[in-house]
Symmetry: C2
Subunit: 427 residues, 2 copies
């Protein structure tokens, strides 16, 4: 029970008046603040400005193997980019394709090809089933769910704990239903909880025995090196899949979107050798190749894993005070009142605040009225439907720290106000 | 009748021996020459090296509207890129989306979305029909045909003349068959004939009355500014479609692949405002945006249409001697014998040589044995099947001029040898 629930009615009414005044005062400031998207701040982007200098008109534009990076060719990416990003993803040189600027687009692409043509080992294209389904651990990434809904794939919610998704439930579901063709996940510093899958979770995922023999785990390792407070070891799922005799079950995705420049980075796809060969063949139908000049730029700037990790430490130093600020406000303003809860992330781009049930929509709407934009309520769930109406994804990276403080002040007042108003409305 | 056909048998046998010796001499040189793909030469790529200097760590990275090109956003492209490339494509600012590095991939994308979801005005997704068909003017671009075949769309050959595809045939086909959902074309300096559609062709295309109300012309204007000998005016098909009351019937594609760097260029999609709005909405499901840094680079380097045209003149100066060389050999070695024919292109990347019927495969195979790689026989036709076995696409841009001369010498000997051998085999 939170503090307000225990409060005598008279006092609660006073509290309401006080909070309403505070809320009106915030509204009168006509704020324009945004904590809705996982965008790096301008300071973070400044870290990567030297990438614009590593390849100019005087530079060598040839890849290690002599390929002219200015011309067509090298469908799976230049070899030095494969070397760096295969190490990043923990896979072999023949287990990676280096892509264009967006891993999300390639996830869409993979699902599209599966729908229209099937994956390696499919009896028929997935679109030839009356209905196929994907498992969606919740809360999760709204853009995964949008792609899935857009392509007409039914989504099944599975809860997520601090160790990862509910594996009992997933094991049961996939074993029984051959129309469950895949699952989404963000295994490290997850979007939006910030949790990392435990070794047991990864092992159980790798050992799944799906009824659909062409089941695929869409493993979006978007934040593999995006530490805020401390690194957490993530077991290598491709290795585990191989051990389990399921080498082809996982599609891994990654990118430099939040290492260098979102939109001007490099994405990659990692999977078993067989999956890569199969995908390369399909890919050769749709494109001649990706931007090799930008791959070369990335390799020259990021150099090796040590340099990349140092670069990510600089990101962490910029991002950490922002997370500290959000946590400070939650800890000082809401937690003492027993109002909701949150999970402290070790890394990634988000923090999830769980409101008292039934309050997320209301809080987000009131914030919006006060000029503070949060991710839409329900965005963390398939079809935009959070059954408990309690998940709020907070994205602290983009705003300047002073703006973030103002946004969090407003957020805390709004949250209290919303809860108190609900209590009074129930009277 | 060609010279060899009129030759007395004895003399033909002598000719055969002479040509065989010449062919063996060529083979003994162990050449490694390639006239197979439409790739710019290294000299051409050198023209665009300054694009690597226009945006460095000291540069302004903001778009005209203030958007930070290093971050997420601007799904349809930055405004200055839209301005330049909408002028290039002859459309309005709200009739263009500036994309990533490959227009081909976006053509694939458009067809995929049509298959899975339908286009604006579709009753149902195209994949829900037992079979849909596309009209393919022949000879055409092999990668268009690969995409179409890959996605299970049936292809119907329509012959191409110097004015464009056979419009009588197309008008009749689309009026009768509602499963004909689209057609491919390269309207200017076409791949591989090098012809440009006449005003009448464009008007008749714009005035098509397809039984399928969601019919789309996939209009790949890849060589809009790629003059070799002289520019040819191409009527604006979007304007004509609007006049005809068919504003949504055309999807136009273009790119800087052969203006700056293939693979590291910028592509664009132009269509009616309604098609753009519809496509933007679908696109928002699959990606957050394309590489805006590279868009900015392109605008700063290409500046405006005048500068772009000057840049293309420099390309022409490099490309022209190569086409001259091919034409010289065809004119001097094959035409006087009445062996086959060719169409002289005004621009583009290719030249088509028509062998005497039934000889393309043989010539290409013999060339390959002699170390001269040509585009595969049949590549100019759907399913790789050239019914007359006579089309050979010559791509002169990539090899150095001396290499090209050696390749053409070999090609002419091989062609004569192949024809003479066939004649003798018939005896």
């Amino acid at each position: 029970m939170n503090t307000y629930e225990k409060m005598p009615l008279e006092q609660l009414r006073d509290e309401y008046t006080k909070l309403k005044n505070e809320y009106e005062a915030i509204k009168s400031k006509k704020l324009s603040l945004n904590m809705s998207r996982g965008k790096p701040s301008s300071e973070q982007l400044d870290l990567s400005m030297p990438i614009l200098d590593v390849l100019d008109s005087k530079s060598n534009y040839k890849a290690e193997n002599g390929a002219d990076c200015r011309n067509y060719g090298e469908l799976t990416g230049i070899v030095e980019a494969k070397k760096l990003f295969s190490e990043y993803m923990g896979v072999g040189l023949d287990e990676i394709i280096v892509l264009g600027n967006a891993s999300l687009n390639f996830m869409y692409d993979c699902l599209v090809r599966a729908m229209l043509l099937g994956v390696l080992g499919s009896e028929k294209p997935w679109s030839k089933y009356p209905k196929i389904k994907f498992i969606c651990p919740v809360p999760g990434y709204d853009r995964h769910f949008s792609i899935t809904e857009f392509l007409g794939v039914e989504m099944i919610n599975v809860p997520t704990y601090e160790t990862g998704p509910d594996m009992d439930m997933i094991e049961k579901l996939v074993a029984e239903d051959e129309t469950i063709k895949g699952m989404w996940c963000v295994p490290k510093f997850s979007n939006p909880l910030g949790i990392t899958f435990s070794d047991e979770t990864i092992k159980r995922m790798a050992n799944l025995k799906p009824k659909a023999t062409d089941f695929r785990i869409f493993y979006d390792n978007a934040y593999a090196s995006h530490i805020i407070y401390k690194d957490v070891e993530l077991l290598n799922i491709l290795d585990e899949c191989k051990k389990a005799g399921n080498p082809n079950m996982v599609y891994m995705f990654g990118s430099t979107s939040k290492i260098t420049f979102p939109g001007a980075g490099v994405a990659f796809f990692a999977a078993s050798k067989e999956n890569i060969a199969f995908t390369e063949k399909q890919l050769s139908m749709q494109t001649i190749g990706h931007d090799k000049i930008n791959m070369l730029r990335h390799v020259r700037f990021l150099k090796d894993m040590d340099t990349l990790k140092e670069h990510m430490q600089k990101h962490a130093e910029i991002v950490r005070p922002r997370f500290d600020m959000v946590i400070k406000y939650l800890e000082e303003e809401l937690c003492p009142l027993g109002l909701g809860s949150y999970v402290k992330p070790d890394g990634g781009y988000f923090l999830t605040y769980l409101t008292p049930p039934g309050h997320a929509k209301k809080i987000i709407a009131l914030c919006k009225e006060a000029g503070v934009v949060m991710t839409d309520a329900g965005a963390t769930h398939p079809y935009g439907k959070d059954p408990d109406d309690c998940y709020i994804r907070i994205a602290p990276t983009f705003p300047a720290i002073e703006e973030l403080e103002n946004a969090m002040k407003a957020f805390c007042v709004v949250t209290k106000f919303a809860v108190v108003e609900s209590l009074l409305n129930k009277q």
